[in-house]
């Protein structure tokens, strides 16, 4: 197993190289550069030229890439052009709200999806199942900015139960912080709940049709004992893996939610960086997101392999 992990980790290096080269090329191909954006209302050509020289933007592309790589190998991700702070600090600062949002969204999705998924599977093709699968479908098919709009309108403006923009850290401000995260977490969580419901239902059906279940039933155990005792544990594994895979999306991909709710998260960071042509920030964040994605994939694969001995990798 250790050798497998090592091999997989080594295999990620070319992947990361490809990703960094790809994003480097792409972002440098986009028209405009950070100096233009920073000095939009200014005329001074000489200041712009000085800045470009300082930032190394006047060098050919492969030189810039080489320089960035060299710094990376020393563990330095560089500094954001816009605010001069190290990329790592920028990301770190945004990680907390993103992680909290992701955690809350996952919690909400589990709270909704677990009973729904179990019941749908246990009472297949009944109205409960119908409701569960319909809910799942709706959640997946609803554009999430639409959902965000509706939630804001309903809970924020009309009912005024929850704050609609801004971020307060629950770890520092407790309940107030939690309230500020509820609407965005609901937006992400309901959609996630839809996916989890489907997965759970599917894996429950899988597990329910296993032989050991038939044995347990033949032994006379009640349905709920069977479910609780044996089936649920095994059925939850794919759910965990799905959640693990979605974690990457929740953190790096919740851009629209973060934008609409004015949350300072990682998703918005990278999109804003692209708009501002903040090259080091874009490259650094994309690299970190890619690493996170690959690591979580690896974890998921290993988990699969460990749980189900039939699925081993060459």
């Amino acid at each position: 197993m250790g050798r497998l992990v090592l091999r997989r980790l080594l295999a990620t290096i070319p992947v990361l190289l490809l990703v960094t080269a790809g994003v480097f090329a792409l972002i440098h191909l986009t028209p405009g550069d950070p100096v233009d954006v920073m000095m939009a209302e200014s005329v001074d050509d000489s200041v712009k030229a000085t800045l470009r020289r300082q930032l190394g933007l006047d060098q050919p592309i492969y030189v810039q890439y080489g320089a960035w790589m060299a710094k990376l190998l020393r563990g330095d991700l560089g500094r954001s052009i816009r605010n001069g702070e190290p990329v790592i600090e920028n990301v770190g600062r945004r990680m907390r709200p993103s992680l909290q949002l992701a955690a809350l969204a996952m919690a909400i999705s589990l709270m909704v999806a677990t009973p729904l998924g179990i019941l749908s599977a246990a009472r297949r093709n009944t109205s409960v199942d119908r409701f569960g699968t319909t809910f799942a479908l709706f959640g997946i098919c609803m554009p999430n900015f639409l959902l965000a709009l509706l939630l804001i309108f309903c809970f924020g403006v009309k009912l005024r139960w929850l704050p609609i923009s801004g971020y307060t850290d629950p770890l520092e401000e407790g309940l107030q912080g939690l309230r500020s995260l509820v609407l965005p977490a609901l937006t992400l969580g309901l959609a996630l709940a839809a996916v989890v419901t489907r997965t759970l239902r599917s894996s429950m059906l899988d597990a329910l049709s296993e032989d050991y279940v038939r044995t347990a039933r033949a032994k006379g155990l009640s349905e709920s004992r069977v479910i609780r005792g044996h089936v649920l544990k095994n059925a939850l594994i794919p759910v965990v893996t799905v959640l693990g895979l979605q974690l990457g999306t929740l953190i790096g991909g919740a851009v629209i939610t973060e934008y609409v709710f004015a949350l300072p998260g990682v998703g918005r960071l990278v999109v804003d960086a692209v708009f501002a042509r903040d090259y080091p920030l874009v490259q650094g964040v994309v690299l970190l997101i890619a690493i996170g994605f690959i690591l979580s994939n690896l974890a998921v694969d290993l988990l699969y392999g460990w749980i189900d001995p039939r699925i081993r990798y060459r």
Binding site: M38, S42, V43, D44, T50, S165, G166, F275
Partner: protein
């Protein structure tokens, strides 16, 4: 200019209303509901402000963005300030004289201290100008280009020696180029100043903290030199809320107290909302489209004129801007003393448009691209213009770009017709010179116009100091610009600001900057 009346408040409101009416910026049906003081000001409270963008730097000499200025006008102070009619008033400089066209002498206010405790004096002023001119990253260089040197004549007198006469300098000194930073802070913490401006200014508020992406906090400067009026608020908290709709909803939900801009489409609803007070503040800004003269099709003047005749400004102001703005006759906004009301804006005339097409050699029309920023109102305006142009036989394709691409395309003259928004400067020079002066290389003269007559007029506006004379020059310029059309001007927007009813004492100045010195919160 205030007559004594038993209800000083009411008079002020009428005054503002009349001002606005007189300057032609308000249709009589519109009402200005300023947030004036009711009762005695009370100290205390935190004002929560929502802006669309986050500030980029706290160092006024390095700043290039509009949002930064909003904060600067509360923690820093310029040498000169503006009044409600955009006239120049004393700021940190009590008085000024120009013994010769190339010399400006400022007498500084005494007894002013920076928030770090050091004295404000002529030496500090000299230091600041030096910094603006010599720091490599200084963005103010262009603005103070006319300054040759600055001498501290005595502790509170400064003599500015100019390279050439510069009639616009006084107005420039009311903004960032005139803002004074504590030399001690700049010397000891210069590099950090961009993120941490503690103790750096002389203003009614001082910098407390800036939590990036979350909020920026300033607090009352109890050592402020001004003994009349405020500051009253304990603190002001700025929050960036990029989404316009959410920003307004935050105000409606009571999460914030002030927003800097209400979109035209929301104006009617906000006006009807009893829980929000809205102020129509005419601005210095202009929305226009630059036409690229360096390549076809718009290197032909007749075709540029065809575009101008085909565009229906009335329909755009009414249908897109919902009358939250006035049709523009040129770069000078109606709030400016240089505005010439007698010059009409270009009215739509399809017959003339078609005639110009023929004159330009394209009687059956031609095709080109309109590059515009991906902002809802820009998109809407572009769609309407596209339809208007089609009626005259011109086929315009719309290309949406993000800000960086727009800047890049504009700077490299890679466009046919490109949208341009200028936030506006108090002196007309700031709205005109750099756009139309012949400039090789990259500049804000995106259209590439190079017209000797215009150049001569532009230079003259900087030399002449008599305001009436300058105004005549700007009128001449406006007329020529309407003929040459490097830019087709559309609208001078009104920038409505909205407040919670608790906010009192706000006085709007048409430069759009929100100054909170005399603002207080009702209990």
């Amino acid at each position: 200019m205030r007559a004594a009346t038993p209800h000083g408040n009411v008079h002020r409101r009428d005054f503002l209303y009349l001002c606005a009416l007189a300057s032609g910026t308000l249709a009589p049906g519109m009402s200005v509901r300023p947030v004036f003081a009711q009762g005695a000001p009370r100290k205390g409270g935190t004002l929560r402000v929502g802006f669309y963008l986050e500030a980029s730097t706290m160092d006024p000499h390095f700043s290039g963005s509009k949002v930064d200025r909003q904060i600067y006008h509360n923690i820093y102070e310029p040498l000169l300030t503006l009044d409600v009619k955009l006239g120049i008033k004393p700021g940190l400089a009590e008085s000024w004289q120009q013994p010769e066209p190339k010399i400006l002498v400022l007498k500084l206010r005494q007894g002013v201290k920076f928030q770090d405790g050091t004295d404000f004096n002529a030496e500090a002023v000299r230091f600041n100008f030096n910094r603006m001119k010599t720091e490599p990253k200084s963005v103010r260089k262009g603005e103070v280009a006319s300054i040759e040197s600055v001498d501290a004549v005595d502790a509170y007198t400064v003599r500015i020696n100019l390279r050439r006469p510069d009639a616009a300098l006084l107005a420039t000194l009311t903004d960032r180029a005139g803002m004074m930073v504590s030399p001690k802070v700049a010397q000891e913490r210069g590099a950090e100043l961009e993120r941490n401006a503690k103790g750096a200014g002389t203003g009614p508020f001082e910098f407390v903290e800036w939590v990036k992406d979350d909020h920026l906090l300033i607090k009352r400067n109890d050592g402020y030199w001004g003994k009349q009026g405020g500051p009253y608020l304990d603190r002001v908290r700025y929050r960036p809320i990029p989404d316009d709709t959410v920003k307004l909803q935050s105000l409606q939900a009571g999460e914030i107290d002030v927003i800097d801009y209400v979109q035209p489409r929301d104006v009617a609803a906000v006006r009807a909302d009893k829980n929000i007070v809205m102020l129509d503040v005419p601005s210095l800004a202009a929305f226009a489209y630059q036409l690229n003269q360096t390549r076809p099709p718009f290197n032909v003047k007749a075709l540029r004129q065809a575009v101008a005749y085909a565009i229906d400004l009335d329909q755009i102001i009414k249908g897109v801007w919902l009358n939250v703005g006035t049709p523009a006759n040129g770069p000078v906004p109606p709030t400016s003393w240089a505005y010439d009301r007698t010059i009409p804006y270009i009215k739509r005339d399809l017959a003339k448009a078609k005639a110009k097409l023929a004159e330009g050699g394209k009687p059956s029309g031609f095709a080109f691209t309109i590059t515009t920023a991906n902002i809802p109102i820009n998109v809407q305006e572009a769609e309407v213009i596209q339809a208007q142009l089609a009626e005259a036989g011109m086929t315009a394709k719309i290309k949406l770009v993000d800000a960086a691409t727009q800047l890049s395309d504009g700077n490299s003259k890679n466009f046919d017709m490109i949208s341009y928004q200028w936030s506006g400067r108090p002196d007309p020079d700031g709205n005109i010179y750099q756009f139309f002066k012949t400039t090789p290389g990259t500049s804000l003269n995106w259209s590439g116009i190079s017209n000797p007559q215009i150049d001569a007029l532009l230079d003259k506006t900087r030399e002449v100091s008599n305001q009436a004379e300058r105004k005549k020059l700007y009128s001449d310029l406006t007329k020529i610009l309407q003929d040459e059309l490097p830019m087709v001007y559309i609208v001078h927007p009104i920038e409505p600001k909205a407040f919670s009813p608790k906010v009192q004492g706000y006085e709007p100045i048409p430069d759009g900057m929100m100054r909170f010195k005399d603002v207080w919160l009702k209990a």
